[in-house]
Symmetry: C2
Subunit: 156 residues, 2 copies
Amino acid sequence: MGFPSSPAMSRALDLARVAAAMGEVPVGAVVTDPSGQVVAEAHNRTRADRDPTAHAELLAIRRATAALGTERLAGLTLWVTLEPCAMCAGAIALARLSRLVYAAPDPKAGAVVNGPRLFGLATCHHRPEVVEGLGAAEASQILKDFFARLRRGDGR
Amino acid sequence: MGFPSSPAMSRALDLARVAAAMGEVPVGAVVTDPSGQVVAEAHNRTRADRDPTAHAELLAIRRATAALGTERLAGLTLWVTLEPCAMCAGAIALARLSRLVYAAPDPKAGAVVNGPRLFGLATCHHRPEVVEGLGAAEASQILKDFFARLRRGDGR
């Protein structure tokens, strides 16, 4: 797709696969510092944690701020396998993340290029640099396989 | 203002005052079950927790799901002293809360009647009943006092 390979997105895709194996909607997220080091990572855990806010992005942000002991993640990049929803896009802005790299767009619930297009609104006070498409084919296939398995009834 | 008094909103306002005393932006939230019993409550803790996602609403939702052992809060009401931001409005929809009662509107960062007006979008898959204005004067005064004190430099 013209994108260079990326260890951070590869890791996010692996985390999505781990989520799928647990019966969670397969989305993975990684936060890296300016040198490319992984600061935090997470996958969806809404079912395991019985927590509707336990999306990969929100957990990765909370883990990154805990790891760094800071409320703001300026200079850092969030890599995620699916376009963030409104909750997660809002959290990305609140955390002041410098960059968002996501794989597949989410026409159903996305809030970056779909739905509210949150970062373009006057009520959004921080706009990260956004890169879409890195790893998109792979991320979409993981989601497709997961939901096909669910429909067949052999999901967990 | 024509609203009946409400123990839940009174409690949310008290929680906002507790937040202010801690140097946190004064917003309080309470979740009640259909009988009016308080299931969970929280105030802003972004500074104390060094967590940009630690808004009153998000914490109250997480505490309510933990208290009830369920991922969804159907039938429950969230009472909050300020119009929720995009992150929190998104979380309210994901949690399937039946009702949102908030005090003051937030033209700067609100996402219910301001900004994205999130619950009206096709990418939002649950629309709670929304009541605005209960306790608004008191909630606004608490916020105004807090920011005036901050500007004077005697905030903590």
